[in-house]
Amino acid sequence: KMLDDSLEPGWLSEEVKTGTTIIAIEFDGGVVLGSDSRVSAGETVVNRVMNKLSLLHDKIYCALSGSAADAQTIAEMVNYQLDVHSIEVGEDPQVRSAATLVKNISYKYKEELSAHLIVAGWDKRGGGQVYVTLNGLLSRQPFAVGGSGSSYVYGFVDAEYRKAMSKEDCQQFVVNTLSLAMSRDGSSGGVAYLVTIDEKGAEEKCILGNELPTFYDQ
């Protein structure tokens, strides 16, 4: 066939996915979240600089993966619900509350939705906390990885993770993991976004592609 049947480019009819690498890790006094920045529709990269670390509250963020639309919608809904909740209780919400709200949506609509959010943040009751909400479960973990790129770095994170790492160690751990995953997973790439949350607040950082650590054969 010489000409394409459709008058539109292929990627307009493909589902937009954040095939992704996301990671969150807690340290004593806070958390570090990290993500890549690639959004793909089929084989086309429709956004190469998307920030997948979404704010749920001042000191609670979530990392998005899976279907871009589903993930963003869940994050926006929970952001609204948390705003209302924090006004009702008169103080900053707990990370567990945010995670529970995400879990409730993920579980109730689990057949319709295809998104996985990792929720992480700091609150005064529990310090830094990371929660996974995959498929509608709720589980707290010292660290979590997700997205298509995470498969390639399970071995790396299992080997390199140590308990009681410092904030800077955690940031380096996140950056190394993202870099390795981005170099192996075709659906992950672009730049690395980092968010470090502690008692004082949330600090966002962007690391460009050429500033990421390189490993053998890169």
Partner: protein, 231 residues
């Protein structure tokens, strides 16, 4: 990578699942982790030991490191039947070739024989093979022949369903110029990590070092494998 799909079964009046357990209807797969590393003077190869039929572990002490010639081995992943058949055929061809040549065969020759067979029968086969060994011309070499039948020489290669999980570890921990012991340690760790995460890999870790002197085989039992606990 062995993602296993069983062929559709026609519905009979007396369905086989009444008389025979489900796993006996599944094809036997070496859902696996295999790897090979070159070092100056030889290669180190490693594999897990699990063979599954569906969810049943048909063999928990499988040897997936198969000798093809005195100094040439292959690591098998994918369908157990396919890889055994191809390895047997290549062993025969290589043995014959070596007699004609009156010299030990080259690793590249063995690898190309695998590649030719895997490419010709690519539609029928499900075999991911890593060929590794030592010869006088080029020393230690690792050639990977994944499903589809391409061939490429790499200093370090991983394969099988469990390999996905250790790409990150391999990229960050492999350094060129490692010694034989360092390579053995690297392989043991990588296999342990993959066996921990991949349900189709497990059992013991089998390792072998191939050098000019010959072959040295090791087994690392389950309780001796390095532990990486993070919960």
């Amino acid at each position: 990578m062995a993602a296993y799909m069983s062929a559709g079964r026609s519905e009979n009046a007396f369905s086989t699942h009444d008389f025979v357990p489900e796993w006996a209807q599944e094809e036997v797969s070496t859902g696996t982790t295999i790897m090979a590393v070159e070092f100056d003077g030889g290669v180190v190869i490693g594999a897990d030991s699990r063979t599954t039929t569906g969810a049943y572990i048909a063999n928990r002490v499988t040897d997936k490191l198969t000798p093809i010639h005195d100094h040439i081995f292959c690591c098998r992943s994918g369908s157990a039947a396919d890889t055994q058949a191809v390895a047997d055929a290549v062993t025969y061809q290589l043995g014959f070739h070596s007699i004609e040549l009156d010299e030990p065969p080259l690793v590249q020759t063995a690898a190309n024989l695998f590649q030719q067979m895997c490419y010709r029968y690519r539609e029928e086969l499900m075999a991911g093979i890593i060929v590794a060994g030592w010869d006088k011309r080029r020393g230690g070499q690792v050639y990977t022949v994944p499903m589809g039948g391409m061939i490429v020489r790499q200093p370090v290669s991983v394969g099988g369903s469990g390999s996905s999980y250790i790409y990150g570890f391999m990229d960050s921990n492999y350094k060129p110029g490692m010694t034989k012991e360092e390579c053995l340690h690297f392989c043991t760790q990588a296999l342990a990590l993959a066996m921990e995460r991949d349900g189709s890999s497990g059992g013991v870790a089998r390792l072998a070092a191939i050098t000019e002197e010959g072959l040295e085989r090791r087994v690392v039992l389950g309780h001796q494998l390095p532990k990486f606990s993070n919960t």
